[in-house]
Subunit: 289 residues, 2 copies
Amino acid sequence: MKNDRKTASNLSSSTIPSQAIGVFDSGVGGLTTVRKLVNMLPNERVIYFGDTARVPYGNKTAATVSAYTCECVEFLLEREVKVVIIACNTASALAMEAVQRISPVPVVGVITPAAETALRSSVTGRIGIIGTRATVQSGAYQAAMSSILQKQGLEREITVIAEACPLFVPFAEEGWHYHPATRLVAEEYLAPLKLANIDTLILGCTHYPMLTDVIQDVLPNVRLINSGEEAVGVADAILHEQNIHAQERSLHRIVDCYISDKSTAFMSVAERFLGFPLGMAQEVRLKKG
Amino acid sequence: MKNDRKTASNLSSSTIPSQAIGVFDSGVGGLTTVRKLVNMLPNERVIYFGDTARVPYGNKTAATVSAYTCECVEFLLEREVKVVIIACNTASALAMEAVQRISPVPVVGVITPAAETALRSSVTGRIGIIGTRATVQSGAYQAAMSSILQKQGLEREITVIAEACPLFVPFAEEGWHYHPATRLVAEEYLAPLKLANIDTLILGCTHYPMLTDVIQDVLPNVRLINSGEEAVGVADAILHEQNIHAQERSLHRIVDCYISDKSTAFMSVAERFLGFPLGMAQEVRLKKG
């Protein structure tokens, strides 16, 4: 890590458009965010870091998640990314402040952007959140919504119903996106949300976009919000504001993928999540790994 | 770690019956083995280490699994256990040699004991194995069976059918031991084993005993072998041979449980797997954690 860290405020003078966007996730889930990023901002290069040696974060303590996330983000910062997207809900819920302290470039989590869109999108004010047990227990989405409403000076009645869906991650990774068992699991997890008559649902885990079809079928009239896609939207706005969008399509590889442990199953899951061939993923040994 | 490591051969002179049995697993699954241990050897004290900060091992490389396992076993050895049970199929498949190199006391994995019992139990020689992707891909059970038959000088035709069942672990942890979705998943995973007409099935993951009922219902005429229970049987034989069985029931806590990361969900899953209250689990920071 360099010692001459710049602060976010004096950044635009030295950051240049050809620098990559850094995307971090605890594992493979963040590649659904990269998929959106590549669609929405096709000129941008991406450096992805997946902490596959220590995944999942969803059942770890806040202190552990914070330490792990900072170590991985340092890896991205050393590669001089112009913005960091934390494409992991657990890390966004538990480690944002710690990451912002160490980063000289803007850091975008998935929680505030998705909370903002949910508040804008919901007509009835009845909003559902699904995620890992850690994300749900953190109450981070509820806190983000309260904070947004407070800043906007709005007194609006919002009802939030949050449900942990621990089996969705393994189903997404197994590739059973629309298996009868997936449907049964979805019906059981989503029943309280259906009963609560929500009109908007935040997919509060970057694995869940892989299960969009089955979730939408169980909740047909609900608007689904992809938290990773919303984070990309905010990163896009930052690049625009600082005038550091990549000007032309890079001739380099679009996505450079680094992982902390390479298993045989990684590439097939990664390419399914990404939606196109990744080519390769490079294994990196972390100091604390 | 002490420098004056004793070798297994000169051990019985200094090992005493009141020392505990060390049980290691990558997470919570090994507690199904502890449950059998406490039933089979009620006088013995157990020191359990679950590497919950780095679970699961099933999708990690052999080098990583080996390094992590040795670090955790060193923790047990520092507490002067008289025998170590590796109650994790992935670690038994990938790290046994490395652990045996560092351990002055006998080390028992789950693979050879279960392979021996399967060979003894099977009448038709058609044996199934289910486990994580890493365990299945390692081919460790097949290698163990070949080695046993070779030692016995037997020329016996054995057909082995191995299937990875990655969703069984999350279903067991979620506590959906007999949910309709669990049944659908089991039917799909076990279909090739049913078709292959096996008469014996090794539960090659210490989580799977939690799903015994649903597995037995899908394969009604198949003998299920609990790999953790078989490992306890071998450890029992070693204690007998060395005359170091605990002579009377300890007044101390029966199970001392250490974990590398304590999540809020741990205790409820742990006690369900163990079958009785654990009381507490102590968090330990690993050097490499």
